[in-house]
């Protein structure tokens, strides 16, 4: 028999997890669909189920000098209207989940679902986001990019709960985001792209780019970013083709019911160029 648990405290949840594995249900917007049964029948959960959406300890947003700390069950709706949340992330959330999902869906859900097309993952990768994985006795903090090990795969252990998402504070001159879906709202990405940059005295002192839905996991390559860090803004336009060539091997999209690989690859390359052109344009503003 599948056992159901609605823990009252985080401790109760972690203690239960130390004894049995549980299917964790947060907002449910992914898991309830993934394990969905026919209409009017209970979902086909294979393990015991724990419902943590309403755990008080997992709600809220705070910050310290170095980072913004998001408790894992904070609904997207809350993030969306919170001053501490980076504008880029808020922009992503608006395009990621419709209003009818936003009040229960969470960032943590997007992370543990580990979809190659997970919209929120793209900006989170840019910021070298970390996640806190807590078990009854231990807690560890790892990079998000290490937590996600493949499509639909994470390194979260059965006794662990994702409790916090830690977004390092990030100084940017600007950002760029494009989600390319089948329509303008309420769609799964065919490809998504986010970038941030920092300019000091006409020099590009930082640039970051991440791609969604073009590979098994989110693509971010610090080595390629480094190719152009330190360049004068005026030299950037000459580097576009080189950048595209450098990213090309990492952009390995698939054909599916939403799009095809040729399109996805071409658009990914276009977005690189558009991002660089965007930086040049913004930098030349008086």
């Amino acid at each position: 028999m599948v056992k159901h648990l609605i823990p009252n405290t985080l401790n109760e949840a972690l203690e239960a997890l130390s004894k049995h594995p549980y299917q964790i249900i947060g907002g449910g917007t992914d898991a309830m669909i993934q394990y969905r049964n026919h209409s009017d029948l209970s979902p086909r959960f294979k393990a015991h189920v724990m419902y943590i959406m309403n755990l008080k300890a997992l709600q809220g947003i705070s910050s310290n000098d170095a980072a913004i700390i998001i408790q894992s069950m904070t609904p997207l709706e809350t993030l969306n209207s919170h001053a501490l949340v980076p504008p880029l992330l808020r922009k992503v959330i608006l395009e990621m989940a419709s209003p009818a999902l936003r009040y229960v869906a969470t960032l943590a859900g997007n992370i543990v679902n580990a979809s190659p097309a997970g919209d929120a993952l793209v900006p989170l990768y840019l910021w070298d986001t970390e996640v806190v994985l807590q078990s009854h006795q231990n807690s560890r903090k790892i990079r998000l990019s290490e937590c996600i090990t493949g499509p639909k795969k994470t390194g979260i252990r059965a006794d662990e709960l994702l409790t916090q998402i830690i977004i390092p504070k990030h100084d940017e001159s600007g950002h760029y985001y494009q989600k390319v879906g089948g329509r303008r709202a309420d769609a799964i990405a065919k490809i998504s792209f986010a970038g941030t940059y920092k300019i000091n005295n006409n020099t590009l002192t930082d640039i970051r780019m991440a791609f969604g839905a073009v590979s098994a996991t989110i693509v971010r390559q610090r080595d390629i970013e480094n190719m152009i860090i330190g360049l004068n803004i005026n030299d950037l336009s000459t580097k576009i083709e080189q950048l595209q060539a450098a990213y090309a091997p990492y952009i390995q999209p698939i054909d599916d019911q939403r799009s095809n690989r040729v399109y996805r690859k071409q658009v990914a390359l276009n977005l690189i160029a558009d991002f660089i052109n965007h930086i040049i344009k913004e930098a030349s503003r008086p």
């Binding site: 494009q178 390319v180 089948g182 329509r183």
Partner: protein, 699 residues
Amino acid sequence: MHKDISQSIHKLDAHARMQGKAQYVGDIDIKGMLHAITLRSPIAKGIIKAIHYPPLPSGYTIIDYRDIPGKNFVKMIFEDWKIFAEDTVEHIGEPIALIVGEDKRVLYDIHDKIICDIQPLEPLFSYQKSVIDYQFTKGNPDPVFKQAKKIIKETYETGYQEQAYIEPQGFIGYPETAEKVTLIGSVQCLYYVKNAVVSALDTHPDNVRVIQAAVGGAFGGKEEYPSLIACQLAIAIRKTQKPIKLIFEREEDMSVTTKRHPSKTTMEAAIDADNNIVGIRAKVALDGGAYIGLSGVVLSRALIAVTNAYTIKHLAVSGDVFKTNTVPNGAFRGFGAPQMIFAIEMFMHHLAKQLNQDPYSFRMQYLAKQGDQTSTSGLFRDPIIMPKMIQKATEMAQFHDKVKAYKTMPNRGIGMSYFLHGCGFTGSGESTHINAQVKLRKDDHDHVYILVAAVDMGQGAKTTLIKIVSHTLEIPIEQVHFDYPDTDDVPDSGPTVASRTAMIVGGLVNQAALEMKSLWQSKTPLEVIKRYKQPEWIVWDEKTFQGDAYPAYSWGVNIVEVEVSPITYQVNIIGIWSVYDVGKALDETIVLGQADGGTAQGVAYGYLEVMVHEQGQLKQKNMTDYIIPTAVDMAPTQTHLYDNPFALGPYGAKGAGELTLVGGAPAVAMAIEMAIKKPIKKIPATPEYIMELMHDDDH
């Protein structure tokens, strides 16, 4: 009471629907009811060797072809569409059996234990096997083509479109007596269902009763398909003598129900020395899917629409329905016209460009005028006000300024389509196939009941028919009633299809009301019946496609403005402007609502909605993957209606339901074409296709 009938009132069922009180079929439960689920073919084509059923728990039943009392086909036009697969399967998802019982969990458990031993055969997916072919000519096309200075030829393709009503299909039914079966369902055509079930049960018509539940969207999707599941359910009810509910879930609905036919149309124009079009040859191929169903009728409507709103003197038109081992295609708002009108509008546009002429003035020259011959050598009898409509539309959209500006401005485009839609059944269909009958009943409190089989599926039939009676009898709206029709109570006024409800059924209701008015005696019950009489001037030869295909035509102009991203190739709709002539709006807001919704479907057909199959398996099977527009995708629309009353329509009304869909696709395609400066020959014009075009330097 003497106010203009077009003046809008609140739709009479709006408040119940808003409160969640309207009963859709899924909302109806009957005590002691069983559920039914469907066993389906997993492969596209094969020979059924054996179906191995597991031992069934008590109270659980399998219903298959062996249980059919009558013939094993869904009575429509041809005897080809099986109720349950018998020896062969012809498409993925073809129903083999119903599994019936109380607990859905047990039903799915039984389902998963059934072993289908089916020997696969090579399925057919290309246009090879013609099952229907029609052809006709107008004028004398052969010499015209022989003498032409040049002949220009293009091919146009259109994809599937899914109706995507938000309420999936379903029925609930119960045995009224040991012999009589009652079915309540989400349907457009009560009598289609009834007649099909009578045939399947091989029983007396009195033994089948069909009642309409609230319908949560239909768009043609609930025209013929419900007959299939009604037959299956009725057979199950007869066998079990229990109430049974059969409701599709979304994925099942999308995977197995009928869609708009994919098409491929080749157009050829004979051009004379002065760059005039003197003749057109058109060849249409429709993918019919595994069974013919209504495909022949869809083909005929497509062919008749060959010259759309234009007059071309010489025509040679032919078309085929091809059988493929895919889900049968069928009725969808527009019914063949959207495919054809996309092809002809784009073709006219491309011809002008190839002849170095301005496309819009070029197309204007060929617009049909009153007195012109139709594509089938019938007559456009009534005034045609297209020039005025085009003028209005171009002003609303600032069309000409934008055309000028976008010649140099990249990535922006605007397109305009002209179109018509024939109202009612094709040719003499109304008199030979339908022969509609309506009844008005007055009780001793002077309340009047409209007894027709017309279904309000959201399009406002309830409100407009009540308005007609109320206006004609000069009694308050509250005194007129139109409830969900029940075949035990209403005569066969025909199906709720083909833009016929307002014009034909409404017309009969109006005549009945006039007669009732002349016989009116207060507090005395009275019944009036009216039967359709075809105007004598309608002469139609079904075999040669000659004569008046329709008693009247509705007309329209759509303008769509877009922006195309050169980075992502996505299309953003900036604005939609429309002008329509539907004769006379029986309720202005209702017609404008049809306009908004129809245009959204038509435009989305042109650029957004993608459905394809791979080896007979549809790849988009749910609302996540089959993309229909959200509110963010649709731009604000501006619509203008011109009165142009049709003498035989009630208060001058003509059809409005389908007209608003048929022009959307070419308008958006022309806009995209302008934005990317490459010809569009295929819809939907997806970003993937637009990318191909933009990167293809040969065009």
